[in-house]
C-alpha cells in the first residue's frame, strides 16, 4: 500500500479508505489476506496503534475479519463490495459535479463534455486495437 497522507485527516480513516478502494476495484478480493499490522505500520511509517485502530474499525464495518493466529482477511460478502463501490462512485460523482458547478458549467454543458470525452477515449482504445491486429 502506498499512501500519501494528508495529516489533517485522521490517518486511520485514510487507511480504511484505501482498503475500501482496493476492495471496490477488485485489487483485494474476498478471502485475501491483509498485511500484518506491524508490517503495514512499518511500510506506511505510521504508529502501530493507528493501524490497529483502522483494522478494528474495518472489522466493525464488516469489511474484514481477523482469525486468531492466522491474520486479517477480506470478508466474502458481495454486498460489502457493491456497497463500497456505490459509496465510492457517489463520492466521485459528487466531487465532479461540485467541481463543474464551481466552474460555472450547467448540467447540459457537463453532460456534453462527458459524452465527447467518452467518445474520444473509446476511439483511442479502438485505434490501439486496430494497430495491434
Amino acid at each position: 500500500m502506498d499512501l500519501d497522507f494528508s495529516t489533517s485527516i485522521p490517518i486511520y480513516l485514510q487507511i480504511i479508505a484505501e482498503f475500501k478502494r482496493q476492495i471496490a476495484t477488485g485489487l483485494l478480493k474476498p478471502g485475501d489476506k491483509l498485511p500484518s499490522q506491524r508490517d503495514l505500520a512499518a511500510q506506511l511509517k505510521v504508529n502501530a496503534n493507528t493501524v490497529q485502530r483502522a483494522y478494528r474499525e474495518m472489522e466493525i464495518l464488516g469489511l474484514v475479519e481477523t482469525l486468531r493466529g492466522q491474520g486479517t482477511f477480506v470478508r466474502q460478502t458481495e454486498e460489502i463490495v457493491e456497497g463500497t463501490r456505490d459509496e465510492m462512485l457517489t463520492k466521485l460523482v459528487d466531487d465532479f459535479v461540485a467541481a463543474m458547478l464551481s466552474l460555472g458549467l450547467t448540467m447540459g454543458d457537463t453532460l456534453e463534455l462527458v459524452k465527447s470525452r467518452f467518445r474520444e477515449l473509446e476511439m483511442a482504445k479502438g485505434g490501439l486495437t486496430d494497430e495491434r491486429s
Partner: protein, 235 residues
C-alpha cells in the same frame, strides 16, 4: 487509569534554574504501549522534563512515578534515555560503542542489536569520528532500542539530520517498538514528517502544557494536522 497501570505519572513537577523557571507545575499520565510526542520550541522545558523523568535532574517539587515507583539508580534498567548531546566517544568503532554500552545493561538484546545495525545500515567497523551526524543519530537510537527498557526517552532524535536518516529512524522506531510492554516519549521542535509516529502529543510552552491529546482525536476535532496546530499554538 490508576498509577500502577500507567507507565509514567508526573504530578505538579517544578524546576527552577537560576535564570529561568523551566517547569511550572507539569502533570501527565502516560499509559503503557504508547508513543508520545513532547512538542515545543527550544527552551520550552522539554529536555528538563525528560531529564527529571530519567533521574538526571532533581526537580524542585512534584512527583514522578515510573511504573509506580520514583526513578532511581537502582531502577535504571527501566529507562532508556537518549540525550540530545552526543556522549559517544569519537575514537571508538561502532562495535566498541555497542559493546561498551551493552556492558552496563542486563536487558541488552544481541538479536535486536544485529537487526537494528543492519536496518540502520551502520558498519560495525566504522569509527564514530567518521560517521555523519545522521549516522551518529542512528547509532544513538540503536543504543536505546537494543534494550528492553519499558520507558524510552528520546530527546530531539531528529534534530539537524538529513531526511533519509530521519525516515530510517522513524521506521526503526515503528519496527522495534515492543507494543504493550514499552512506552516512549520523543521530544522534538520539528513536527513535520514525524507526526504520524505519535499516539498522543503534549505541547509544552514556557514550562506549562499548552495542549495535549490523542493525535487522531485532535485531527478529528480541529480538522488540522498536528504540525498545523503546532504552528498555531507557537505562532
Amino acid at each position: 487509569m490508576n498509577a500502577a497501570e500507567a507507565a509514567l505519572v508526573v504530578r505538579n513537577l517544578r524546576k527552577k534554574y537560576p535564570k529561568v523557571e523551566a517547569l511550572k507545575g507539569i502533570s501527565l499520565t502516560l499509559p503503557k504501549g504508547e508513543i508520545w510526542g513532547l512538542l515545543g520550541p527550544n527552551g520550552s522545558g522539554k529536555s528538563t522534563l525528560l531529564k527529571c523523568v530519567a533521574g538526571l535532574v532533581r526537580p524542585d517539587g512534584g512527583e514522578i512515578a515510573v511504573l509506580g515507583a520514583p526513578p532511581s539508580r537502582e531502577r535504571k534498567e527501566q529507562i532508556a534515555f537518549v540525550p540530545e548531546v552526543e556522549g559517544l566517544y569519537r575514537w571508538m568503532t561502532v562495535r566498541q560503542v555497542l559493546e561498551f554500552t551493552a556492558a552496563f545493561y542486563s536487558d541488552w538484546q544481541q538479536d535486536s542489536e544485529r537487526e537494528l545495525l543492519e536496518f540502520m545500515r551502520l558498519d560495525p567497523e566504522a569509527k564514530v569520528s567518521s560517521l555523519s551526524k545522521g549516522m551518529r543519530a542512528r547509532l544513538k537510537l540503536v543504543l536505546a532500542l537494543a534494550r528492553r527498557a519499558p520507558l524510552i526517552l528520546l530527546d530531539e532524535p531528529f534534530s539537524g539530520i538529513d531526511p533519509s536518516s530521519r525516515d530510517r529512524i522513524v521506521e526503526g522506531i515503528i519496527r522495534q517498538f515492543k507494543g504493550e510492554e514499552q512506552t516512549m516519549i520523543i521530544s522534538t521542535h520539528a513536527v513535520g514528517d514525524t507526526e504520524q509516529l505519535f499516539d498522543a502529543v503534549v505541547f509544552l510552552h514556557e514550562g506549562t502544557i499548552a495542549l495535549r491529546g490523542n493525535a487522531e482525536d485532535l485531527r478529528t476535532s480541529r480538522g488540522k494536522s498536528i504540525n498545523d496546530l503546532f504552528k498555531e499554538v507557537f505562532a
